[in-house]
């Protein structure tokens, strides 16, 4: 029941609304009760409302408002990218993006693969049922 993900300097968050939708950013300062200053290696540092952020489990070790190069180094040291991509949340997003970019032929191939997989599962199940019966 207690909160686990806090808004703090170094908290990695995902932008969930607006022009930078889907971007992973780091909170580098808190402006006031509603807004934070965020920064990421490939964007200009800007302010954003907390409502537009979804906090993640990842936290990095930085001082308040670090230089861009310091930030990048801290992110690499903490290995944010691989931690994100290995987390179940990050994996889900990667799969969603892949599915959205599938072309018509790819979707057809996926359908064939699902049918094949379903067939294999049903065969195994039938074998197991027979063994029990």
């Amino acid at each position: 029941m207690p909160f686990k993900r806090f808004v703090e300097i170094g908290r990695v968050a995902l932008v969930n609304y607006g022009k930078d939708y889907g971007r992973l950013v780091v909170i580098v300062d808190v402006v006031d009760q509603n807004r934070a200053l965020i920064d990421a290696p490939d964007m200009v540092r800007c302010q954003i409302n907390f409502k537009r952020l979804s906090l993640t489990d990842i936290k990095i070790d930085i001082k308040r408002v670090p230089k861009k190069t310091t930030l990048i180094k801290a992110m690499e040291d903490a290995d944010v990218k691989s931690k994100w991509e290995n987390s179940s949340w990050g994996k889900k997003l990667i799969v969603q993006k892949r599915r959205a970019s599938l072309n018509d032929f790819d979707r057809f191939k996926v359908m064939l693969a699902r049918i094949k997989r379903g067939g294999a599962i049903r065969q195994e199940l039938a074998k197991l049922k027979k063994a029990v019966a």
Partner: protein, 222 residues
């Protein structure tokens, strides 16, 4: 010192006599026996009889348009070998291979016939989806197929005796001429080889496209 050069507003540099000599007006006069040639008034004005009706307003006569329609622009996503999805007509939903654009602007496509039953056919660009899948058509020669290939044969008028009036309905059979069947085979031979080289592509072309529950065509990448 050209006579038209001005000293000031309204004052020419050269005098009237100088200008007269310079322009050779004396030579023209001498050529025509001492007088300027007078232009002969044509009788065209006198020849037209007084019209019976004068329209109340001065209306410009309508000119026929000289605008020529532009050649149909081919979508940049469509190149020879692109797999297209037909959206309307008898072959709605079928995935076909694009061959070339004809002069009339229509697209020449083929199933290939052996794979999905679509023959060499013309189709309008407006009724297709272009996918990003491409088939290798380098071995296919469609140079001799043009719009004339698809023109309908003119039916010869049968003699209309009483009996034949009822019989003609049965006589007109729409059998495909042999050369068209052979053209189909020739075009498809190289295509089918290229298609079989890609796994699953043959099954893909044989299947029809349809939207399922949850599909959002505006979000889907084709």
């Amino acid at each position: 010192m050209a006579p038209t050069s001005k000293l000031s507003q309204g004052i020419k540099k050269a005098s009237r006599s100088h200008t007269y000599h310079r322009r050779g007006l004396w030579a023209i006069k001498a050529k025509h026996g001492g007088a300027f040639p007078k232009a002969v008034k044509t009788d065209a004005v006198a020849a037209v009889a007084a019209p019976k009706f004068y329209p109340a307003d001065d209306v410009k006569p309508r000119q026929p348009s000289t605008r020529k329609p532009n050649a149909t622009k081919l979508r940049s996503s469509i190149t020879p070998g692109t797999v297209l999805i037909l959206l309307a007509g008898r072959f709605m939903g079928k995935r076909v291979v694009f061959l070339k654009q004809l002069k009339s602007g229509l697209l020449l496509v083929t199933g290939p016939f052996m794979i999905n039953g679509v023959p060499i056919r013309r189709v309008n660009q407006a009724y297709i989806f272009a996918t990003s899948t491409n088939v290798d058509v380098s071995g296919v020669n469609v140079d001799k197929i043009e719009d004339k290939y698809f023109a309908r044969d003119k039916k010869k008028k049968a003699e209309k005796t009483e009996d034949e009036l009822f019989e003609t309905e049965k006589q007109t059979t729409k059998d495909l001429p042999q050369f068209k069947k052979e053209d189909q085979k020739a075009v498809d031979a190289a295509l089918i080889k290229a298609i079989e080289a890609v796994p699953d592509l043959k099954a893909y072309l044989g299947a029809r496209f349809s939207l399922r529950d949850g599909d959002k065509p505006h979000d889907m990448v084709f």
